[in-house]
Amino acid sequence: MEETKPTLVLEHVTKSFGEFTAVSDLSLEVRPGRVFGLIGPNGAGKTTTIRMIVNLTVADSGRIELFGQPLSLALQDRIGYLPEERGLYKKMKVGEQLRFFAELKGLRGKEAVARIDRWLAKLQLADWKEKRTRELSKGMQQKVQFITAVIHDPDLVILDEPFSGLDPVNVDLMKETILDQKARGKTIILSTHQMEIAEMLCDDVCMIDRSRKVLDGRLRQIRRSFARNAVALQFEGGDSLLNDPALVANVHQVGEDIEVLLAPAANPQTLLKRLVDSGATVTRFELVEPSLHDIFIEKVREVA
């Protein structure tokens, strides 16, 4: 795990606004070339954490190190930032807008123009280059905003809720683009409250709840360590079986799919046997790792 120098380190970082503590004693490490998920419900302190990293607010205490150096404005040119609250000049044309933000990040001339065209084509916005920003749909504006975050080819891309307001087609496009950045060796910090998205994209995660870190590490290891007797099921008949507390601790049903957390004393074999004995037709029986959602809920309960 210590093979490369971390891109970003936070050590015991705390930030309060008056009486309210937004981030409390947070430590984390983001390693290069990976997608790091900062996950937690709304108001947990994700955005405040990001705002400290991008130099918008200063931590009350603790230390932040970026690319092995203390935070500074010069380092900000190596970061791309997609804020949660999107902001674009409504009256500016898309192309000019991107040009301006590229210049703010130190890029200029032909290089900027070429990259803008490339990105617009990639995100299917080429026809909109000469249009004013306010004429674009919300989803399109969001893609433009995303381009402003990556136009200068930053080493670290910070995306705060990048999928909110996107339709499914664009969600896929965005996922693809993020993974593409990762493939090019970029580090990505993804802040989101949507666990399913974090599950699909992240290599590492840090869960925050009410200003405190509740859990962090490699996603795969976390899930493995939480893998207990969870079974995904599809069957017909014998429903009452799942109500036996000696056998089943928790049931989570979505449509036909049922996810069952077995009671500590029980094991999958017993469940399968009892199901078959009860005359149920089992169409799916699969041992699963718990979802991030379940892990999060469990961790939060534990802490509370």
Partner: protein, 448 residues
């Protein structure tokens, strides 16, 4: 530095290209002409038909003269005035009076037969007619008017000073003529006596005597108004731009990429360049008009004598515009960073705008006595100086040390304001959800 230039460039290019800018550039001079010409014209307008006036002539010998004076004398005056008019060079009050006279629709005069009725009875009848609206005013000329010089004026609207003054002066004329006639002065001598005198004014300045046509007031007014207008216009533009960036959270990206000082200065300078561009276009248009336009109009028989404006005045205009702009735009930027919406910004900016309006209003007493101590102090106070000092320079150029001192005080204030604002700007711009309170702002200044 490159980022700073990028900010300036964006502010400049995005604004100069707008239709708004083009419209303001074209309409600005028109608005100014309207402001200079319309108010005196409007005050002079007598709406409705001619003023209906009844005359009760108890003296029995003044009616004819008075009527002729009211109805006829206009022509005499106008002849003289026509020879003067079209030279855009009489002073404000003279012009105002003349406009009033020209636009007046005259009088419809009727004699009131006394027929042995008592004055009370006659007045009762006339009052009734005035009330019903058949009559606007009536005048009672007593028997002994030639000795007492007193007459009575009745009307519903005695607030109409134009009518009252005209009646008074025309009646005076009639009385004077009658008195002279009683002394057996012949009519042609009377006419000769009544001929008006017109003044040719000459301005005395450091450079000696200068032919001054009296157009000075318009030039001074135009300069003062120009500074006022551009400062308000572009100051508010800065306010709007700052609030836009805060409201849309563009500020987040800006402040994560660039230091707050170049951001703020870039905005102020970018917008100031837009304003200077506009002023330059106006200046150029004026010069071109002076060189070509006047000649062309002269060829078509229209003579306009434009006031002579020394080139140095334009330099002062530029300097004091920059002073005014940077003082007010900086305050507007500060206000913009403290509020959350355009509406709040408007409220908080109101006192600032009023300060600017106060400076503009002070320009009038300053024009009348540019060397008074009021004029001196008003032109040293940095928030008024851009308008008042410029007005003084154009009216009667004060000693150089006063100009230099006012510029030093002014730009010193600018530096102070920019320093203050730069300490607040960043925190204000990144704070959301509520308006910053004054104690909070003071704390930022100390902590920054």
């Amino acid at each position: 530095m490159r980022k700073f230039l990028a900010v300036i460039k964006r502010e400049y290019v995005q604004r100069v290209r707008t239709r708004m800018f083009v419209a303001a550039t074209v309409l600005g001079p028109l608005v100014m002409v309207l402001f200079a010409v319309v108010p005196p014209y409007i005050t002079g307008i007598k709406a409705g038909g001619p003023t209906r006036i009844a005359v009760v002539d108890e003296s029995g010998k003044l009616y004819e003269r008075f009527r002729d004076s009211l109805v006829g004398s206009r022509d005499e005056d106008d002849e003289e005035q026509n020879s003067l008019s079209l030279q855009a060079n009489s002073n404000q009050w003279e012009r105002m009076n003349r406009t009033a006279q020209l636009s007046e629709q005259g009088f419809a005069v009727e004699p009131v037969e006394v027929d042995g009725k008592s004055l009370e009875e006659i007045k009762f009848q006339l009052n009734e007619r005035v009330r019903k609206g058949d009559l606007d005013v009536y005048v009672v000329i007593p028997k002994d008017i030639l000795t007492t010089g007193k007459a009575e004026f009745y009307g519903r609207n005695t607030g109409d000073v134009f009518t009252r003054d005209t009646v008074e002066s025309r009646l005076s004329n009639a009385v004077r003529e009658e008195r002279l006639a009683e002394e057996r002065v012949p009519q042609n001598v009377l006419n000769e006596l009544n001929r008006r005198v017109s003044l040719t004014s000459t301005r005395i300045s450091e450079r000696g005597e200068e032919k001054d046509s009296g157009g000075g007031f318009y030039v001074v007014f135009a300069f003062g108004f120009l500074i006022y207008l551009t400062t308000v216009l572009y100051g508010q533009m800065v306010l709007g731009a700052v609030i836009e960036e805060k409201e849309t959270r563009i500020a987040e990206i800006l402040f994560s990429s660039v230091r707050s000082f170049p951001l703020m200065m870039g905005k102020l300078i970018g917008v100031s360049l837009v304003a200077l561009t506009q002023l330059a276009i106006w200046g150029l248009a004026f010069v071109l008009f002076t060189i070509f336009g006047v000649g062309m109009l002269a060829a078509q028989g229209v003579t306009i004598s434009l006031p002579h404006i020394p080139a140095m005045m334009f330099v002062y205009l530029g300097l004091y515009f920059l002073l005014g702009y940077f003082i007010y735009a900086t305050i507007y930027a500060l206000v913009g960073s403290m509020v959350t919406t355009v509406q709040e910004g408007g409220q908080l900016a109101l006192p600032v705008t009023l300060l600017l309006v106060a400076g503009f209003c002070l320009a009038f007493p300053v024009i009348r006595s540019p060397n008074s101590s009021l004029a001196f102090w008003a032109s040293m106070f940095p928030f008024f100086a851009p308008i008042t000092m410029l007005v003084r320079i154009v009216t009667e150029t004060p000693p150089l040390w006063q100009i230099v001192l006012s510029l030093l005080i002014g730009f010193g204030t600018v530096v102070l304001l920019i320093w203050l604002t730069s300490r607040i700007y960043r925190v204000g711009m990144l704070m959301y959800g509520k308006k910053a309170s004054i104690p909070e702002v003071l704390r930022w200044v100390r902590q920054a």
